[in-house]
Amino acid sequence: MTAAAVATAVRVLTQLRRDPRTVALIVLVPCLLVTLLRYLFDRQPAVFDRVGGTMLGIFPFLTMFVVTSVTMLRERVTGTLERLMTMPLRKLDILVGYAVAFGVMAVLQSTAVSLLAFSALDLHVQGSRGAVIALAVGNATLGMALGLFASAFARTEFQAVQFMPAIVLPQVLLSGLFVPRDQMAHWLRVISDVFPLTYAYDALSRVTEGRGLGGRFALDLCVTIGATLLALLLGAATLRRRTA
């Protein structure tokens, strides 16, 4: 990692530290939602085990998407990005800096919600708990990378927030969480094949349900990591030194 990327990560983390309310929302909202889920399925602990386990990834995915897309958009509209563009740093340095800073947040958030679920909420998963936490972080990181990329297409913060129902919710609906993918209309299944969340979700559900971790699991991991890196590269490509 370059010095400029490290400096950018430190700067973004310092900004987050100045905004404890946002940090609290990032960490606590998924915890609250999983707690809600636990008591929603109060009489059906088996359902909570199945749904709750994957939600440890889905909720952080959602919040990280919104937070990063709005933060990155702010950098674009306040003129600081334009100033950075006149300075000697590579465009990818900015994105990597953001990714590292919000990656730290993703670890904090996913770990907090997972520990809460495994202890106080009595969530049972078939596979390893450590793997669940790692995959939850992976889901959050994917949401972060997609959020950084999506911010390029928003002109205002209002638009950026609207990207959540537009870009993120379809991915959640088609991921297999609500209806197994082989029971969807064929064309929907084809669409879900190109959504990165489908793979991140599948990996997590395989671990929580103790299903096979063979070739398909390896493919899930590759697509999740690959989509995260691709979104960061595309995000860097959308930064323009020259604008109209």
Partner: protein
């Protein structure tokens, strides 16, 4: 050193021609004022010089290299009209970040804070500062390195007269060391403080020269009058 040379610069924004074909030279080791009413194309010209403006044609050479060349990014400093610093960081944290991006020593921060007289506010978060203090924080980032070209878009608007005088002295000090400064303003009284002037109107050059030469040419006692007479003569 070769300052800034602009030939037939054409910029179109949103279907509107902002600069139809502008040619001008900014002399090295001088403080050049870019004067003109709001909407005359000052900011667009400055953005073209620092290489962040999409241009439709013409040539902009800064220190002999095309504007926006990677090799210029350490040698050219730019401040935008609206203060572009992080509102949720302190002045010192902002400056420290930019020194790391520019690869400068940490002690440059204190020197820059000193120059813009923000010692007392250095550890205050920017969004608690007044508009003038924010503008100074933004200006300080341009003074961190030892840039050979400084492009400053209305850097002294709304500042205390005493501080404004000090900053103009700083600008002249930098020019004395060989730097090329282009400073925009829409206030004519600031024009008197410049070595050279470029008067801009509706995307075209109305006149260039020293303040004294412009007054002599038009027979005006004040630059304000000189500007008016030039407009009338051109119309």
């Amino acid at each position: 050193m070769s300052g800034i040379e602009i030939r037939d610069l054409r910029v179109v924004r949103g279907g509107q021609v902002v600069l139809p074909g502008l040619s001008v030279t900014v002399e090295p080791a001088r403080v050049t004022g870019l004067l003109g009413p709001s909407g005359s194309g000052k900011t667009t010209l400055m953005r073209a010089i620092v290489g962040v403006q999409i241009v439709a044609g013409g040539e902009v050479l800064v220190l002999g290299e095309p504007a926006g060349s990677p090799s210029l990014r350490r040698r050219v400093a730019y401040i935008t009209q609206a203060p572009s610093v992080y509102a949720d960081l302190t002045v010192r944290e902002n400056l420290h970040y930019f020194t790391r991006i520019l690869g400068l020593a940490r002690d440059r921060v204190d020197a820059a804070v000193d120059t813009v007289a923000l010692e007392k506010e250095a550890d205050a978060v920017v969004n608690r500062l007044s508009g003038g203090e924010r503008a100074r924080a933004s200006l300080a980032t341009a003074l961190l390195g030892e840039p050979e070209v400084l492009v400053l878009d209305e850097p002294t608007v709304g500042l205390d007269p005493l501080l404004r005088r000090d900053l103009w002295n700083t600008f002249h000090g930098l020019a004395g060391q060989g730097a090329t400064l282009l400073v925009s303003s829409h206030v004519m009284e600031e024009a008197e403080r410049c070595d050279e002037l470029i008067l801009l109107r509706e995307g075209g050059i109305l006149a260039t020269g020293t303040p004294a030469a412009l007054k002599e040419r038009t027979g005006a006692h004040e630059l304000d009058d000189a500007f008016l007479r030039l407009i009338e003569a051109g119309a």
